[in-house]
């Protein structure tokens, strides 16, 4: 049954660009991007339990890395991959420096990272165009082809993030991260090299947003620091993962989908209260649904439905 759902979903995802109009395609591309961001955050925030606000830093750095490389003539796909590599290196270094901090202190340190990167980007005008932004070379292809291209690019990243999450969840690394999240001192005493594991989780939480940032830059053709280092790029993925269930494999995907759907259908009309509504949602989540959708038993509802349909077939 599960296999059927998976195959069906995959077919829909692949066929979508050829069936939907550009507006829906753009929405779907955004959903895939946020799925990747959420899945990325899940490594450090969900599995390891470290509240990172660095997603915006990684995304922005990836956008600028990819963007600058492209303006220097590097072809798009290479620029994206290099952006991911640069962000990964940055995350490993940053992680070494701040992962000994815990809880709120760690969160603040990661928040600061995005701010610092934004300021550095602003000042390095020769390289990045500073506050005036960066223009990327436009593709010589029609709008529809471009839309499909970027859709598939984000789909690949999201799929890669999902596959990595599934692999880590079943691995020794995933087990170790869960132990760290439950009780870090006990984890150390059981022989887990917590420093190394945390750096790995942090790096994984960076590489996917980094590549997304690179793709995003090519997609919108113009980026500026305020845009790509926006703190909402850190906050929204967290809310999505909390909504869908932290530390699970599909939680980030469910959450991203639900969140963006609600955003599209409901809040676009309430432009002034947008940020306020987000705040209210976070408070409600924390107070009433600490385990996200898992708390109201969505996965168990699904599995029970699966059970019933399985028993129904002779």
């Amino acid at each position: 049954m599960t296999r059927l759902i998976v195959v069906a979903t995959a077919l829909v995802l692949v066929a979508l660009p050829f069936m939907a109009d550009n507006y829906v395609l753009r929405l779907a591309t955004t959903m895939l991007m946020y799925s990747a961001l959420a899945l990325g955050w899940n490594f450090i925030g969900g599995f390891a339990g470290y509240p990172s606000f660095a997603t915006a830093a990684f995304f922005g750095l990836g956008a600028y890395a990819g963007g600058v490389l492209q303006t220097r003539g590097v072809p798009m796909p290479a620029a994206w991959l290099l952006a991911g590599a640069i962000v990964a290196l940055f995350a490993a270094a940053l992680g070494r420096a701040i992962l000994h901090l815990r809880g709120h202190y760690f969160a603040i340190a990661t928040l600061v990272a995005a701010e610092v990167l934004r300021e550095v980007t602003n000042s390095a005008t020769d390289l990045t165009g500073g506050g005036m932004g960066l223009n990327l070379p436009v593709l010589s292809a029609d709008v529809t082809t471009q839309a499909r291209l970027f859709y598939f690019a984000m789909l690949v990243v999201a799929a890669a993030a999902l596959a990595t999450t599934a692999l880590v969840a079943e691995s020794r690394l995933g087990f170790g991260l869960r132990c760290i999240q439950q009780n870090e001192d006990a984890a150390i005493m059981l022989g887990i090299n917590t420093r190394r594991y945390k750096v790995v989780a942090f790096t994984l939480s960076a590489v996917f947003p980094g590549v997304c940032g690179g793709i995003y830059a090519s997609w919108v053709n113009y980026i500026d620091p305020t845009d790509v280092y926006d703190v909402l790029l850190s906050v929204k993925p967290i809310v999505m993962v909390l909504l869908g269930g932290a530390g699970t494999v599909l939680g980030g995907v469910y959450g991203a989908f639900l969140f963006l759907l609600m955003e599209e259908l409901v809040w676009r009309n309430l432009l002034q209260f947008h940020a306020g509504l987000l705040g209210i949602i976070v408070v409600c989540l924390v107070l009433f649904l600490p385990h996200g959708l898992r708390g109201i038993g969505l996965p168990s509802l699904l599995s029970r439905w699966r059970q019933r349909t399985r028993e129904a077939t002779p």
């Binding site: 020794r172 006990a186 059981l190 022989g191």
Partner: protein, 248 residues
């Protein structure tokens, strides 16, 4: 000789927690570490397990110097400890808790094998029936057994038990003692830190007494409990002077 401390000292700010402590543990011994509150017993355990570094002296484990190693590496070399306040992974199952020990310090490579190994340790500690329950659902006595099972899963040669009996009633203490005896029978060296004198006297053949960071006695329980310095440490200098004067 499995553990040797030589002139180990550690201070925190102005307070000397451990002051030039030296002793040796032979493989297979069951030794008690006692002393009034604040004597430095837990600090000593933290020094051996790498949570703190000694500021003087050295600690050798099976001949290798370990006082500069991080705690996870010391755990992998075969030193395990339990915590005074139990430290489980609360939302993981009992089986997963013990699997953690086997999978990392215990040296087992795959999760599946580690789970099998963990099940054996659960059977040994009498927790097999609770394997699928979350650790937070256990009673205190069982959580202490879980702590023990986790430590055993790391395949230790030296086990440091920090007040395993705090909060247990008499029957639970007896059961804990049986378990400790069974562990010792496997050849594991045990250092038992305890306040409950009755436990330490029945379970150990040798006592180390710490007072204000110094080792003031090292010997058989009989000798140690009659040692005037020990009496002075526990009951006060005036009492010792009147009722247990040191031999002239």
């Amino acid at each position: 000789m499995i553990l040797r401390l030589a002139d180990v000292s550690r201070r925190f700010g102005g307070l000397v927690a451990v002051n030039r402590v030296s002793f040796e543990l032979k493989a297979g011994e069951v030794v008690g570490l006692i002393g009034p509150n604040g004597a430095g017993k837990t600090t000593l355990v933290n020094l051996v397990t790498g949570v703190h570094r000694p500021q003087a002296g050295e600690i050798r484990y099976g001949g290798e110097r370990i006082d500069r190693l991080p705690p996870d590496q010391i755990a992998r070399r075969g030193i395990a400890r339990t915590f005074q306040v139990v430290q489980p992974f609360p939302h993981m199952t009992v089986l997963e808790n013990v699997t953690g020990g086997a999978l990392f310090a215990g040296g087992i490579k795959t999760i599946r094998q580690a789970k099998d190994e963990a099940m054996e340790h659960l059977k040994f500690t009498g927790l097999a029936d609770f394997a699928a329950r979350p650790a937070s659902a256990l009673t205190l006595a069982n959580r202490k057994r879980l702590e023990l099972a986790k430590s055993l899963a790391t395949n230790p040669r030296l086990l440091l038990l920090d007040e395993v009996n705090a909060g247990l009633n008499a029957a639970e203490i007896d059961a804990a003692l049986d378990l400790i005896r069974a562990i010792a029978d496997r050849g594991i060296t045990i250092l038992l830190i305890e306040h409950v004198m009755k436990v330490v006297l029945t379970a150990t053949t040798r006592l180390l007494v710490l007072h204000q960071g110094e080792l003031i006695a090292d010997g058989s329980p009989d000798n140690v409990t009659r040692d005037p310095r020990v009496i002075e440490a526990y009951l006060g200098p005036k009492y010792a002077a009147r009722y247990a004067p040191a031999a002239p």
